[in-house]
């Protein structure tokens, strides 16, 4: 990809739609499916992942001369793990409820596939500015889909969205709060996105 064509808007567009981490790359699915029981948890998880993703992208890109090519995975790992631990402590101090609810999936951000994909395919081969916007685009794309999934699951399972009641409690289907429900709804979202995109997944 030529540097000239590879501009900021292109990066944002790719992250949000063309190479959306969940819909197209199928990465970072384990927090996506497990944490999105309610919209608020999903949004927190998305924001957390976005923050770690942006920081890792920028730092990998800035340090790409220092990180040896053979051991670059180790470099990404260390950077991502450091930011995850910092974020984990921050969340524990200021949002203890969310930290408690998200549990194991907060430290698991350090091994989220999205971060490694972006570090390998974008940050390691481009300048920090571009990596920043790539991180923002991909992060927003991730957050949007996980929050959408969380909102749909919350409406069907609990009849609420961000805690505001839409459907009476007697008419809810609690199935979607479980893991299989998440898989099925995510499949519907993916199918819809592929339909809009027209034809086969690239």
């Amino acid at each position: 990809m030529k540097e000239k064509k590879d501009n900021i808007f292109r990066r944002l567009y790719y992250g949000l739609w063309k190479e959306n981490p969940i819909l197209v790359l199928c990465l970072g699915l384990c927090p996506t499916l497990a944490v999105s029981t309610t919209a608020a948890y999903a949004l927190t998880m998305g924001a957390f992942t976005t923050a770690v993703l942006i920081l890792t992208n920028v730092f990998v890109s800035a340090l790409k001369k220092i990180i040896p090519k053979e051991q670059r995975l180790l470099g990404y790992l260390l950077l991502a793990a450091s930011f995850t631990v910092a974020g984990q402590l921050f969340l524990k101090a200021y949002f203890p409820d969310f930290s408690e609810a998200l549990g194991i999936f907060i430290p698991l951000t350090a091994v989220n596939g999205v971060i490694y994909d972006r570090a390998e395919r974008c940050a390691y081969v481009s300048n920090p500015g571009l990596a920043l916007f790539d991180g923002i685009g991909t992060g927003i794309g991730y957050t949007f889909i996980i929050t959408l999934l969380g909102a749909i699951r919350e409406i069907i399972a609990f009849g609420t969205i961000f805690g505001i009641r839409l459907i009476p409690a007697d008419y809810t289907i609690s199935f979607t709060a479980l893991a299989p429900g998440a898989c099925i709804i995510l499949a519907f979202i993916m199918a819809l996105a592929n339909k809009i995109r027209g034809g086969h997944r690239s």
């Binding site: 199928c26 990465l27 970072g28 699915l29 384990c30 996506t32 499916l33 497990a34 995975l73 180790l74 790992l77 260390l78 793990a81 450091s82 995850t84 631990v85 984990q88 402590l89 194991i104 430290p107 698991l108 350090a110 091994v111 989220n112 596939g113 490694y116 893991a179 998440a182 898989c183």
Partner: protein, 120 residues
């Protein structure tokens, strides 16, 4: 002995990682296109999980808890596993090039999935 047996049964069926806890979904979905690839990813995840649990448990129990630095567990366990993956790849390269070609893409994947066990 029965306790160990129960632990294995619970881990395999009741708390099945993929089906009930939806952990490790990335490699599960991306690499299960055909049977051969699935078996390979399963083997690599198995190796990494078993060996890294053996190594990280004493580290967590005796080093991190003693020194009260358990907030470093994520970084330390990741490092141990990364080192382990490199080591397994190195051994495979020595034993057979064919095997190495098959697994060099997949072992890093297992690195991204196998972490949860040690953390929990």
């Amino acid at each position: 002995m029965t306790k160990l047996f129960y632990a294995a049964i619970i881990a395999a069926f009741v708390n099945n990682l993929v089906l009930t806890q939806s952990l490790g979904m990335d490699s599960f979905i991306r690499n299960s296109k055909d049977l051969a690839t699935s078996v390979r990813i399963a083997v690599s995840v198995l190796i990494v999980t078993v060996v890294s649990s053996l190594i990280t448990w004493p580290i967590g129990r005796y080093v991190l808890d003693k020194l009260q630095i358990s907030f470093l567990s994520t970084i330390l366990f990741l490092l141990v596993e990364a080192a382990l993956v490199w080591f397994v790849l190195f051994v495979m390269k020595k034993i057979s090039v064919h095997l190495y070609d098959h697994y060099k893409e997949l072992l890093p994947w297992s690195l991204l999935t196998a972490q949860f066990l040690e953390l929990s």
